[in-house]
């Protein structure tokens, strides 16, 4: 039972990482930049939920997703777009600057102290009355409702995103831009629009991830996005950055490692284990598990 519980937890945590990693990977694939501020979008999403929670929990979630998507677009327009065509280092430093900016703004507005949240209580007050701590017990097997919701959400997002990329015109345009920006432009694809949409989707997914994290009782503070952000980034790289299935796989691998490390009593060393695996994967296959490799011509 313990094993099964760990497995399911691993999938749910991994699913959240995968969702954030999708944002990194899509932005990387299409805009060819590392969006260091992506983790902080999670934090912004969480604060938006806290702000709107007194009104209505569902409204707060929708507001978080919409506002984060808008924020993603705004950041792209103001900070990254002027630097398109500049050296990649400049873009990276700007992304770091944006990350600092979001963090310090949040700190100024909401203060440095962590805030607890009651999103789950507000969403499922009746369920909590019948099930203590939101846990469903089937015999000796315990599972949290939030875990079930997370798994369902992650599955939906993954299927939806895959279909979106494969079936819709915009999705295929995204693939085209990630393959060759210049050629895509010549084919009449509006590259600016595609980049904008990518940022919007990535940020919306980050907001969704922060919703799921809060359902699980995560407290909110201005640095809450850093660690999940960096782990999701790791996940994206393990899976092969630029590859959508890679991000999903990487996220889940990372979540499973984390939970099984915890089960084995190595919870304190989870970070070290995860990053060691990252290093090993990169050394053996530098493009990640599902990444593509291109070669330089001499």
């Amino acid at each position: 039972m313990k094993f099964l519980e760990t497995l399911i937890n691993g999938f749910s945590i991994g699913g959240i990482y995968a969702m954030i990693a999708l944002g990194y990977t899509m932005v990387y694939g299409i805009a060819k930049m590392l969006n260091f501020a992506h983790g902080d979008i999670i934090m912004v999403g969480a604060y938006v939920i806290i702000l709107f929670l007194p009104i209505n929990p569902v409204v707060s979630i929708i507001a978080a997703i919409v506002l984060c998507a808008l924020l993603g677009i705004t950041i792209e327009k103001i900070a990254y777009k002027p630097l398109r065509g500049a050296s990649p280092l400049a873009v990276l430093i700007t992304a770091i600057g944006v990350s600092y900016l979001l963090q310090s703004l949040a700190q100024i507005i909401f203060g440095p102290n962590p805030k607890s949240n009651n999103l789950f209580e507000k969403l499922f007050p009746k369920f909590l009355e019948s099930h203590r701590g939101g846990i469903i017990a089937i015999g000796s097997f315990n599972i949290k409702l939030s875990t079930i919701i997370t798994l369902a959400c992650v599955a939906l997002v993954m299927i939806g995103l895959t279909l979106f990329v494969k079936r819709t015109k915009i999705g295929r345009a995204m693939v085209a831009v990630s393959e060759d920006k210049g050629a895509a432009q010549l084919m009449g694809i509006n590259v600016n629009k595609i980049i904008m949409i990518t940022f919007a989707i990535g940020s919306a997914l980050a907001a969704l991830a922060s919703t799921l994290m809060m359902l699980d009782g995560q407290t909110v503070n201005f640095t809450m996005g850093s660690l999940p952000g960096i782990k999701a980034f790791t996940a994206a790289v393990i899976g092969g950055i630029g590859s959508i299935p890679g991000a999903m796989l990487g996220g889940i691998v990372l979540g499973l490692i984390e939970c099984f490390a915890q089960m084995a009593g190595l919870g304190d060393y989870a970070v070290a284990i995860e990053f060691s695996i990252l290093i090993i994967v990169l050394l053996v296959k530098p493009t990640g598990i599902l990444g593509k490799k291109r070669r330089e011509k001499v």
């Binding site: 050394l283 053996v284 296959k285 598990i289 001499v298």
Partner: protein, 282 residues
Amino acid sequence: MAKFIDNVKSFVNTKILKKSHKRENIESSYVLETKALGITFGGLKAAQNVNLKIKKNQIYGLIGPNGAGKTTVFNLLTGVYQPTDGEFFLNGENLTGLPQDKINHKGIARTFQNIRLFNNMTVVRNVMVGLANQPEFKCNLFESIFRLPRHFKVEKAMREKAKELLRIFDLEDERNNLACNLPYGKQRKLEIARALATNPKLLLLDEPAAGMNPHETEDLVNTIKIIREKFDMTILLIEHDMKFVSGLCDEITVLNFGTVLAEGDTKAALNNPEVIKAYIGG
């Protein structure tokens, strides 16, 4: 997943076990001799059965249509690719399988089809990089850090030597400019100067006249002739320009689809019906 395991295996083989094969030297009167040299990329034979024999002080041409495998041969000879078949010898010494820097130390230097200079460094420093491996400019890290007398001596000697080389290529006045600010023709020359600075026995020039106007090409022909005389150099070059080749090369090898079509005296090889067919199509 299977692919991933393959990657792990190849990583272990090449990086950890460092598998290398035995190299046997031969007696050879040629500066460069290749024996059935070839490489296959996953079923594609990019070059096969290439047998070159280049005598000392010769200017040897390697020609062929696009995609004939000329640059591949260069990449094999400089260790960029490891040959899957055959071996090659420099003055009888087997260099097959050595890493690029070692091959350069043994005496093969090259230029690139698309110029590769150290763009953020000055012209003179570009050449000095090439000089660094020569025994007379030996100076270890410790001596450099603590500025022992040898450091200054070596630096001064290297700078003088570099200036001397640049003078031959008429680049001395440009020595403190950034390499990327030079005009195209001078960049080509600088690349040759840098290759010569490594004191090679054999110089490989990959399309030296590409992108040059007739005046610059003529200048280049003279430069190459000067190099041969001044440095007593053996030169192997790739070129498309037939006039350039017939005016400069003593002997040539014609490649097509990775195989040798014709070889020997320039005029005779160029008039070979197979060669004409390959170039004109038929």
